[in-house]
């Protein structure tokens, strides 16, 4: 192994008397991808924030190239060649890519202190050269707003390289990008390795970690559980170390008898989003929907749920054609939709767990418009218990919960409406392994209880592990349907990429 | 696109017609213009009525322009009217400085200008000022109150917006009179911004202090009526006398009922008729005094019937 460029020794950090990091020692070699894994709240983000100087450590030492460093703020870290690419990118949207790359260190053609004139042309030329050197296809003149999330990440990586960073920290870089874009990202990471850059890689996605990481460090509850070469790990071993208990298999799939059709979608079309979609969902079945981001999967289920209107086609629930123009009609038809973005369309972050859980069911918890608060409290408490939601009480603000528990609150809200048809759009995105497993188990139980489940996921192993059947969308068209025995990652990806063929035909 | 074209064409032709029409009239028949600061209270309405009635009586035409309390609007109204050609200007200004250049321009164009009620900062910009001295109104009001309460005791003043001409003049009048009444002391003095409900709450609060007030003297009738309500609610009307200024219809009614002790008329109708009369004289080339002052009139229960319509 090449030389160690970063080392932390015995790092300890407490917030309000609670130890969130306890004696963490960690090292990174040049040209190495070192994955940092653990459940939410394990301390991964806190550790990298201490390395970046965003938080100050209580105890311990940090060495950069064998020299002890004390960073007071992120700019100190940046000056020492450490960059971070955050989980939630927050770029400045209304400037072009070249300007963004040089924000705060603009190239000047005239030095006049604060009145210096920015040399736009040179910035663009330099940006173009940078992108070419990295083999990234982005126009320096594009507005940041017009880039995809993956492209923004590539811009961030380019920025980190242009700052001649020796160490790049990536916190959940793939949480918002597609399978294909992940490949592009990994290509860049491999190039970074060749340049001797060390990468600290934080992710929940095991497949990715085993693809890209050289070494893995597992944290749990702020403690260092173990560090080893990636080849000495297995998925099961890693998960066991992360959650601290035995997990028999990653995807617990129960055998359920599949019954009559409950949801039939016929020739459903919506301009520019999806076209002529036909499928049928049966009682007790888990039907997976695969496809790349932008394939029209979310748009399809939002249309079925009445958030948007279809231009053509119809939807049958229990064999009856129904006109669903608004989510309230969908709820009346006993359909539930757990949307993709819980912060944006799943939760009211300004209120309590209880009021979130009861939100879609208020009418039936009320008499003459007055809420029966005792029944509401009982319903909330029973769902908090049933779904193992970790909250101090039903009155806790939902924003104080971890991602996994917030997702469970969304699920609780919809289970309270007693749905027959449950649509889940990326139900495990950005949540920890323990909560993921709880949700998988719950889905199994719901199917067993006779519910019909429609699930969208960008994690193909998850889709294969849980579904009875998978349909694949590409560019708004249904390109394939696979029974369980035919599930392979390659097959699904082939169908998911079929839009290119369709485009070529045109 | 077509509709847009059609629309603009229509507008342009309408403007042309209007222009032609305004040019077509012979200069002898040019209308007079009356510019008023706003039309949201009894005073301004009475002034407008006086002017339009007098104009009809004199057989001339007058156009009323309402500036809605906006100085810039009044200036552009003057400019527009002057451009269209008018026989004379009567103006009740929004701003004492703001209208000066526009009036100077009008005067330079040979249009006679009469300022009514509120003086402008540069008297030469107008041919004549018709109005009252606010300080005289204040004096008459305070003198009446001082005599009524026998020359001693506590009084309270309700003031208009601090810094306004009428507030300053009327309040100065109060204090001038008080020089002769050393036994009268001012217990409270606060602005209620001409507003009835502000005066009501203010006097309610004053009365809570238990101060032995003999009279409440208000810069205008609106505030006096607010004070009246507070005093009546506290059942102190037999102890506290209330005085207003402006002689608005509701104040006159209250005087007639014996609830409001007195109000002062600034002879709004006389101001208006005099102003209209003067501008017509000026247009005919007659000479007039540069300042015509109208007297205030005290209105009590004894003479209120002369003023009720």
């Amino acid at each position: 192994m090449s030389k160690t460029i970063l080392e932390t020794q015995h790092i300890t950090k407490s917030f309000f008397g609670v130890k969130v990091l306890d004696d963490i020692s960690f090292s990174l070699a040049s040209g190495e991808v070192h994955a940092l894994i653990g459940e939410n709240g394990a301390g991964k983000s806190t550790l990298v924030k201490i390395i970046m100087g965003i938080y100050q450590r209580d105890e311990g030492r940090i060495f950069l190239d064998s020299e002890e460093v004390f960073f007071q703020a992120p700019r100190d870290a940046l000056q020492h060649g450490i960059s971070i690419i955050q989980q939630e990118l927050a770029p400045i949207m209304d400037i072009d890519v070249a300007e963004y790359l040089y924000v705060g260190r603009e190239l000047h053609k005239l030095e006049l202190g604060p009145l210096s004139v920015v040399d736009q042309r040179r910035q663009r030329a330099e940006a173009k050269a940078l992108f070419e050197g990295l083999d990234i296809d982005i126009n320096p003149r594009s507005l940041m707003r017009d880039l995809s999330v993956a492209q923004m990440q590539l811009v961030e990586i380019t920025k980190a390289i242009s700052l001649s960073s020796k160490i790049i920290i990536m916190d959940e870089p793939t949480s918002a990008i597609t399978y294909k874009e992940v490949e592009t990202l990994f290509e860049q990471i491999r190039k970074l390795k060749k340049r001797g850059v060390g990468v600290i890689y934080i992710s929940h996605k095991m497949e990715e970690i085993f693809t890209i990481a050289d070494r893995i460090t597992v944290l749990r509850d702020g403690k260092h559980i173990g560090t080893d070469l990636a080849e000495n790990f297995t998925v099961d071993k890693a998960i066991k170390m992360m959650v601290g208990r035995e997990i028999k298999e990653v995807y617990p799939k129960q055998k359920v008898a599949i019954g009559e059709p409950v949801l039939e979608v016929q020739h459903l079309s919506s301009k520019h989003q999806f076209h002529d979609i036909n499928f049928c969902l049966r009682k007790g079945e888990i039907l997976g929907i695969a496809g790349l981001v932008g394939a029209g999967r979310s748009e399809l289920v939002e249309c079925i749920f009445g958030i948007t209107k279809a231009d053509e086609g119809r939807v049958l629930v229990h064999g009856q054609a129904v006109q669903i123009n608004h989510p309230k009609t969908a709820i009346r038809q006993r359909v539930a939709l757990i949307t993709e973005d819980r912060g944006h369309t799943g939760l009211n972050l300004k209120t309590s767990v209880e009021h979130n859980i009861s939100l879609a069911h208020l009418e039936r918890l009320a008499r003459f418009g007055v809420i029966d608060r005792r029944t509401e409290a009982k319903a909330a408490d029973s769902h908090i218990n049933q779904l193992k939601i970790k909250a101090l009480s039903r009155k806790s603000l939902v924003r104080s919960l971890s991602g996994g528990n917030q997702q469970k609150v969304v699920l609780a809200k919809w289970l309270l409406t007693e749905p027959d048809i449950i649509i889940l759009d990326e139900p495990t995105r950005g949540i920890d392994v323990g909560s993921k497993r709880d949700i998988y188990l719950l889905m199994g139980e719901l199917a067993k209880a006779g519910k019909a489940i429609l699930m969208i996921s960008s994690e193909i192993p998850e889709l294969m592990g849980l579904s009875d059947r998978i349909i694949v969308l590409a560019a708004g068209r249904l390109t394939g349907e696979l029974p369980q025995e035919k599930f392979t990652q390659e097959e699904i990806m082939t169908y998911a990429s079929k839009f290119e063929v369709l485009h070529d035909e045109k | 696109m077509n509709t847009k074209k059609l629309l603009s064409l229509t507008i342009v032709s309408l403007m042309l017609i209007a222009l032609l029409a305004s040019c077509g009239g012979s200069s002898a028949n040019k209308p007079y213009a009356f510019f008023i600061s706003h039309q949201t209270n009894a005073f301004t309405n009475e002034l407008t009525t006086a002017i339009t009635t007098k104009a009809a009586e004199l057989g001339v035409e007058v156009t009323v322009y309402d500036a809605e309390k906006d100085p810039a609007k009044q200036v552009s109204q003057i400019e527009t009217a002057v451009n269209q050609g008018i026989a004379g200007i009567v103006i009740e200004p929004v701003s004492v400085d703001g209208v000066v250049p526009a009036l100077e321009a009008a005067k330079a164009a040979g249009i006679p200008v009469v300022v009514v009620n509120q003086r402008i900062s540069k008297a030469e910009a107008a041919d004549c000022f018709v109005g009252v001295e606010n300080v005289d109104g204040g004096k008459l009001e305070m003198l009446t109150a001082a005599e009524d309460i026998g020359g001693s005791g506590n009084v309270a003043f309700l003031l208009g917006p601090l810094g306004s001409d009428a507030q300053i003049g009327r309040t100065d009048g109060y204090y001038e009179v008080l020089k002769d009444y050393p036994d009268i002391s001012v217990a409270f003095e606060q602005t209620a911004n001409w507003v009835t409900e502000e005066a009501l709450a203010l006097v309610e609060n004053w009365l809570q202090t238990g101060t032995d007030l003999k009279a409440i003297v208000a810069n205008n009738d609106g505030m006096a009526l607010g004070a009246l309500k507070a005093v009546e609610d506290a059942k102190l009307l037999d102890q506290i006398k209330i005085y207003g200024l402006d002689a608005t219809p509701d104040a006159l009614a209250a005087v007639a009922d014996g609830r409001l002790t007195a109000t002062i008329s600034q002879n709004t109708t006389v101001q208006g008729t005099t102003a209209m009369d003067t501008v017509v004289k000026l247009a005919k080339g007659e000479k007039v005094d540069p300042e015509i002052l109208v007297d205030f009139v005290l209105i009590t229960k004894d003479n209120v019937n002369d003023f009720l319509q």
Binding site: L337, G346, L392 | A201, E204, D250
Partner: protein
């Protein structure tokens, strides 16, 4: 970690809520010390309640709108229009008392429904909609009254706001308490109230959860308009005339009361009792400073300072979440 955050959050929240109550009592205490003989008298305390009533009623309506994520700048003008209409139909010997009462509230309700419809279906920011309707309604009030105060109303009309229950409690206070009680019930106990919070907290989530967001918006503006109509009736009765220029900047006092009471300008959060305390604080300061004969110009500075401090508390509270 999660549990700890939650309990810290709960403590912070209750501190903030207690904070405004504590501030209220602090202000009271200071005024009692400065003016023991006048301010602290029972009749003055009732007087304060009376003076808080009209703003309190407007603030209650405003609270519904702000919690739903909107704003209603038109209430001050609606007060004037409703007052003018009420006084117009309250001349002696013309119409029974029920006519001015019903008409003023109907006028307010109509203004509110119009605001709500435009906000909900026009997809125009509420600030702009109500800024426009504020001007329009003021114009209507001036037209309806010919630009002059409408006076000469019946004794019974004057008695609507001016009368007393049990000799000492002004009708105004009874109206304020009733409006508060009903609003508190609607806001905290009913499906509608819960949905108002949901729409203000996250409109997209509310829609996905089956809530007819447009109906909720129309509902809150209707409430605000209706209460502005009631406030207009009460003000006209209180000053025994309908004044077309009355109620200027009342909307700002109503917003101030809600904000001082902790209602979040971004919507989704706020408590009814906060709004009551906010209205009381404004009235107490005005009353206390009048009694101390402090110039109303200084009063403006003190009122503004309190608004900013209250919002500062609000922002700090959120920053700690």
């Amino acid at each position: 970690m999660t549990k700890n955050n939650a309990s810290k959050q709960a403590r912070l929240n209750s501190f903030r809520e207690l904070g405004i109550v504590a501030a209220f009592f602090l202000i009271l205490a200071v005024l009692v010390i400065l003016s023991p003989n006048s301010f602290a008298r029972p009749t003055n305390l009732i007087n304060i309640l009376k003076q808080a009533s009209i703003n309190g009623i407007l603030a209650t309506g405003m609270m519904f709108v702000i919690i739903s994520g909107g704003i209603d700048l038109s209430v001050g003008s609606t007060v004037a229009l409703a007052g003018v209409i009420a006084a117009t139909y309250a001349h002696p010997g013309e119409y029974p008392l029920v006519v001015p009462i019903a008409l003023s509230m109907l006028v307010g309700l109509a203004a509110g429904i119009a605001n709500g419809l435009i906000v909900a279906f026009g997809n125009i920011p509420p600030f702009i909609v109500s800024l426009g309707s504020m001007t329009i309604i003021r114009g209507l009030a001036l037209i309806a009254s010919n630009g002059q105060p409408v006076f000469n109303v019946t004794k019974a009309f004057e008695n609507i706001a001016g009368g007393f229950v049990l000799q000492y409690i002004p009708h105004l206070v009874i109206f304020f308490l009733s409006v508060t009680a009903i609003s508190a019930f609607v806001l905290t106990r009913t499906v509608f109230g819960r949905r108002v919070y949901a729409v203000g907290g996250n409109e997209a989530t509310a829609k996905v959860s089956g809530i007819n967001v447009n109906m909720i918006k129309i509902g809150v503006y209707s409430i605000s308009g209706f209460l502005a109509g009631l406030a207009g009736l009460l003000l006209a009765s209180r000053i025994v005339s309908g004044n077309p220029t009355a109620g200027q900047s009342y909307e700002l006092d109503a917003i101030a009361a809600a904000v001082i009471g902790g209602v979040s300008m971004t919507g989704g959060a706020g408590k009814w009792y906060g709004t009551v305390i906010g209205a009381l604080i404004i009235a107490v300061i005005g009353n206390g400073l009048d009694i101390l004969n402090v110039s109303s110009h200084f009063q403006l500075i003190i009122k503004g300072t309190i608004i900013i401090v209250a919002v500062l508390l609000d922002v700090k509270g959120k920053g700690n979440q």
